[in-house]
Amino acid sequence: MFLINCPYCGQRDQSEFSAGGEAHIVRPKQPTELSDDQWAEYLFMRKNIKGVQFERWNHTHGCRKWFNMVRDTSNDKIHAIYKMGEKPPIK
């Protein structure tokens, strides 16, 4: 069980949160302009990185806010947490 530092509520147990997959996949502003391939890329294709990955989490059972997390998927270490719309603090 991770200990997650919600950017609003502070440190909480993982059970209060839910994961939302890879971050920074922006929903296309003009989906109708996209080819089937491009749309599939948005819908389904994921980097699924082993290592440092940027992802979305939601404090479901707390403030219900979404935020971003930088986590190493090879050891589950959380490197950084930042609010939606903010730039990642690390590359």
Partner: protein
């Protein structure tokens, strides 16, 4: 018992309180403070079980969680019996019953022992190589294999005991209350850390607690005396919590640890009642100090598994702590100094010590000198090559070792004994450290794996960190703890420590024998019966990695998880394959450290608390009116209301008819309700639903369909425009939570520019739905001043009104096709409104109906239920609901997916109606539909999604999805059942009132 094996001066056993217990049906006696193992040994019982594969007699070997042999069945009650319990960890209590496992008819005479005779035929993994002929006989072979496998017996009745959970947050957790743990806990607590110290025994102090040897002294007193004083000082520390009988089960990431506290297992039957048996502590510690000590290793030589062969440190504990002599003529066999501690203790207690067989060349450490001074005989540079005695050891054979240690030479000496203590050195308990993700390093000088790198805020101290000698333990613990906690504790400065130092070290993983290896049985894993030969066989067959060898030979996979066998397995592999131990690596230690009862893991989440039960405000009314309930997610919904022994079908037919003929009343409170406010509310709805919302008038309701981004139908419901920027959305019962969180997700992450706020009001409102031709009359009785005319209050509109001064919202919407109203009122008054409607409706024979009738009524009208008629593969077009997709809107969730090459196919599966040729025949939901019955392979075109006998149409109706269904209307199809084929015709989805006249009836 005839023999008196109990000495009288033990400080830890209360010899004034005698306890009676039963083992294998025989009544025996022990004392308060005994474990089952110590009490059995005191009764001269060594033989307690049979081994897994060869059914060889096995005796008690250790005194703690690493015990491989003495695992017994506790209790005989069908609900309370417990298999595979280690006798070394069972505290004796009055009335304890235990029995041997894996033997029949008895542990003394076990038929299965014939396996030992066949043992040459059944080496490691033999089963992969045989039982393949004839092919269909495996079932039979397997039956016998299974029967002979397994150890204890599962209970056959539900457990009566109670378990629970507790969360605990602390600054410092110290695991293990031996000397280093006590020093660590004291230091932490004194320096204002909120500290928790846990130990799996019933008393703190570890092995130092009973160390009364001249070679180990602190400030001129026995180390045990010094430690007892330290333990005393713990009591005054405010920041310290101590939990005994609490063993750490698992160490997870982020310093999340699970510990099991045993609360009643040591109590007698009467005292156990109405108490929590075991509690699982879920600990979140800022810092963790592991001080779990070390385990003694056995030695691997021919026939090293006989009852009476025990770890030397255990023999020492039995005599020094429990006051029990494990034998009367004891021999010891060692490669290090620790066996001498046992020898001295035994000697001091008047037990005859035959000799110590030591594989090393002569050494003259303090403790060895002491033993020699006491006149204890030592066979230097020698090895035990064989043992005798079937049910208990009676002699050993000793030979000299060659200079290189690979062979034995010279004359064989036979020595009679009734117990053999063995010591192969020490293994630090690094299990928790590795469970936490820490990496190990290998120390060559004494062949141990030690904690190396960890990502977590934790440290290991004492012998689990490789410090085996008293002065090392104390000095290194002090230094490490000070550094780790960033404190400067000087309590332990200037201690005067005497500690015997081990000078000479030597290790031979597999001791040589005078016989060829194939003729010997040097056991590694005592419980799973794997020998050094098995390891060598695996290597010979190309199983190189430790994980392969482990799995091929099953070494280390028994209930002790290889606590005693893993190191030797690695050693023999390394030696045989010519690899360095450090490079070979270890297998992963997986949680739990010791087996953990399912009940403890589950805690109170059983029975009533297995899962949440959600109830509507009218729930009690439904119960009083004998409703049967359906589980819908976590909700209990009224399913149907049988009267006078009606079955479900009869009740549903009656309810359905009543709803259409006169009036029905339904509890619709479980639907999800989301309050939407904000200046962009209309735009928001445009983006989440497939249809357009901007032009919906205030006071009007509209049905909406929500898709996933993949274009498939996700949820549906009616949304009402309450005012300019204020809507009330309803969702399906099951979808409520997911829809809200999905909408919040879009608002927060994709469309933060929208000024929209969502608030769940699902539980705030109770919803009473009344339908049928008389619903209007009933409502007018309840809210007389509300104008219910079609002009003022048409279908798909809503009114704010009051019932007895309480605000409520009445929607005129319909899921049945009947004229109907939904009254939404704050939940506290909903039951009262329901009762009022029921009273008012009595003159119209108002009939409460449940979900089943609701499903039937909507099916008559061809309305879908998301999740029943859709399965995540249906688009709105597939549902023949093209009308609900706005052509004008540029985008909405899922729109793009509707135009992919597969989703625009015209011959996708589409929702249609089905009528059976025989109107009485009701199709089975889930039945498949075909167009030809004699084609092979048969092509399934679709399946029945909803099916009912309609009392209002007096015929069977069904909804189905069929490939290219839109174009198949009027066509004959077949539903092939197991014993018959049903003829059906494809129809429109609306069976009743196609013109929607009843809505305004």
């Amino acid at each position: 018992m005839s023999k008196n094996l109990r000495i009288t001066n033990s400080k830890f056993i209360d010899q004034t309180s005698r306890i009676s217990f039963k083992f294998d049906g025989k009544t025996l006696y022990g004392f308060k403070g005994d474990t089952l193992a110590s009490a059995l040994l005191a009764n001269d019982i060594h033989l307690v079980g049979r081994s897994f594969k060869y059914h060889r007699p096995r005796g008690i070997m250790a005194c703690g969680p690493e015990e491989p042999n003495a695992i017994v069945q506790v209790g005989s009650d069908a609900s309370m019996t417990e298999p595979n319990t280690r006798a070394t960890e069972i505290e004796l209590y009055e009335g304890l019953e235990a029995s041997s496992q894996n033997c029949w008819p008895s542990v003394n005479f076990d038929i299965g022992a014939v396996n030992n005779f066949f043992s040459p035929l059944i080496p490691a993994a033999f089963y992969y190589k045989t039982f393949m002929w004839p092919a269909n006989f495996w079932k039979l072979y397997e039956y016998f294999i299974r029967k002979s496998a397994g150890l204890g017996k599962s209970p056959t009745e539900p457990d009566k005991d109670i378990y629970d959970h507790r969360y605990l947050h602390c600054d410092v957790l110290v695991v293990g209350g031996g000397i280093s743990g006590i020093m660590a806990a004291k230091t932490a607590a004194k320096n204002n850390f909120n500290t928790l110290l846990i130990d799996d025994k019933n008393i703190l102090g570890g092995t130092t607690l009973f160390q009364e040897n001249e070679c180990f002294k602190i400030n001129n007193s026995y180390s045990s005396e010094w430690l007892k004083k330290e333990i005393e000082t713990l009591k005054s520390l405010k920041n310290l919590t101590i939990k005994i009988r609490t063993s750490l089960a698992a160490y997870h990431n982020y310093n999340y640890l699970l510990a099991r506290e045993n609360l009643t297992d040591h109590l007698n039957i009467n005292e156990k009642k109405d108490k929590i048996r075991q509690r699982l502590w879920k600990i979140r510690a800022k810092k963790v100090i592991i001080s779990t000590g070390a385990m003694e290793r056995p030695l691997i030589f021919n026939n090293n598994d006989r009852p009476g062969i025990m770890l030397s440190s255990s023999i020492k504990k039995y005599i020094d702590y429990y006051g029990v002599k494990c034998g009367q003529r004891i021999s010891l066999f060692t490669n290090n100094d620790s066996a001498y501690e046992a020898a001295i203790s035994l000697n001091n207690s008047g037990v005859i010590v035959n000799s110590v067989v030591d594989i090393r060349d002569k050494t003259n450490s303090l403790i060895v000198k002491q033993a020699e001074m006491l006149g204890i005989k030592i066979h230097w540079k020698s090895s035990v090559v064989n043992t005798s005695g079937y049910k208990k050891i009676n002699s050993i054979e000793i030979m000299k070792l060659s200079d290189d240690g690979t062979a034995v030479v010279g004359k064989k000496i036979k020595e009679k004994c009734d117990c053999l203590g063995i010591s192969g050195g020490w293994t630090p308990r690094v299990h928790l450290f590795t469970q936490s993700g820490g990496k190990l390093k290998f120390r060559d000088k004494d062949n141990v794996f030690l904690p190396n790198k960890s990502e977590l805020d934790q440290i290991s101290v004492g012998s689990c960190n490789g410090d085996f000698e008293l002065d090392e333990v104390i000095n290194n613990t002090v230094d490490s703890i000070n550094k780790f906690l960033k404190v400067n504790n000087n309590d332990y400065e200037n201690l005067e420590i005497i500690s015997s130092k081990e000078i000479n070290k030597k290790n031979i993983w597999l001791l040589p024998s005078d016989k060829p290896l194939g003729k010997t049985k040097p056991f590694l894993d005592f419980q799973n019966d794997s020998t050094a030969n098995d390891i060598k066989l695996a290597l010979r067959e190309g199983f190189k990695s430790i994980e392969h060898v482990k799995r091929y030979t099953t070494t280390g996979m028994a209930t002790d998880q290889g606590k005693l066998s893993n190191m030797h397995a690695l050693g023999i592999i390394a030696e045989t394959a010519g690899v360095k131990m450090g490079e070979l690596g270890t297998t992963t230690f997986r949680p739990p450290y010791t087996p953990l009862t399912f009940g403890t893991i589950v805690g109170r989440n059983v029975g009533e608390f297995f899962d949440i039960i959600r109830k509507t405000p009218m729930h009690d009314w439904h119960v009083e009116n004998k409703a049967e309930f359906e589980n819908v997610g976590q909700w209990k919904r009224a399913w149907y209301y049988p009267i006078n022994n009606e079955n479900m079908h009869e009740a549903v037919q009656r309810e359905s008819k009543a709803a259409r003929d006169s009036a029905g009343i339904l509890d619709a409170s479980t639907l999800g309700k989301i309050d939407i406010q904000g200046s962009d509310a209309s735009e928001f709805l445009n983006r989440v639903y497939t249809n357009a919302w901007s032009k919906l008038e205030i006071g009007k309701c509209r049905y909406g369909l929500m898709l996933n981004e993949d274009g498939m139908v996700y949820d549906d419901g009616v949304t009402t425009r309450l005012s300019e920027n204020h809507y009330l959305m309803t969702t399906t019962t099951g979808g409520a939570a997911n829809v809200l969180s999905k909408l919040e997700d879009y608002l927060q992450t994709e469309w933060p520019e929208l000024d929209v706020y969502l608030t769940s009001v699902t539980d705030h409102y109770g919803t009473v739905s009344i339908c049928g031709p008389n619903s209007k009359k009933i409502l007018s009785k309840i809210i007389p001043d509300l104008d219910l005319s079609d002009k003022e209050f048409p279908h798909m509109s809503f009114k704010n009104t009051l019932i007895d001064n309480t605000k409520c919202r009445v929607m005129r919407i319909s899921f049945t096709g009947e004229h109907s109203y939904e009254i939404n009122i704050q939940a506290s008054y909903a039951k009262s409104v329901w009762e009022k409607c029921y009273e008012a409706g009595k003159e119209f024979n108002i009939t409460p109906y449940g979900t089943e009738t609701m499903h039937l009524l909507r099916a008559e009208k061809g309305f879908i239920i998301a999740g029943q008629d859709t399965d995540g593969t249906m688009t709105p077009v597939d549902l023949q609901m093209d009308w609900i997709i706005s052509k004008k809107k540029y985008d909405f969730i899922g729109k793009r997916s509707l135009y992919r090459s597969d989703t625009i196919r015209e011959d996708r599966k589409q929702l249609v109606g089905l009528l059976t040729e025989d109107p009485k025949e009701v199709l089975e939901e889930g039945a498949q539909i075909v167009s030809e019955t004699n084609k092979q392979p048969i092509e399934m075109l679709g399946h029945v999604t909803s099916s009912y006998f309609s009392p209002n149409l007096n015929k069977s109706i069904a909804l189905a999805v069929i490939k290219n269904g839109k174009k198949l209307k009027g066509q004959k199809m077949f539903v092939p059942m197991k014993n018959k084929t049903i003829n059906v015709t494809v129809t429109d989805t609306v069976f009743l009132d196609k013109e929607n006249k009843r809505l305004n009836a």
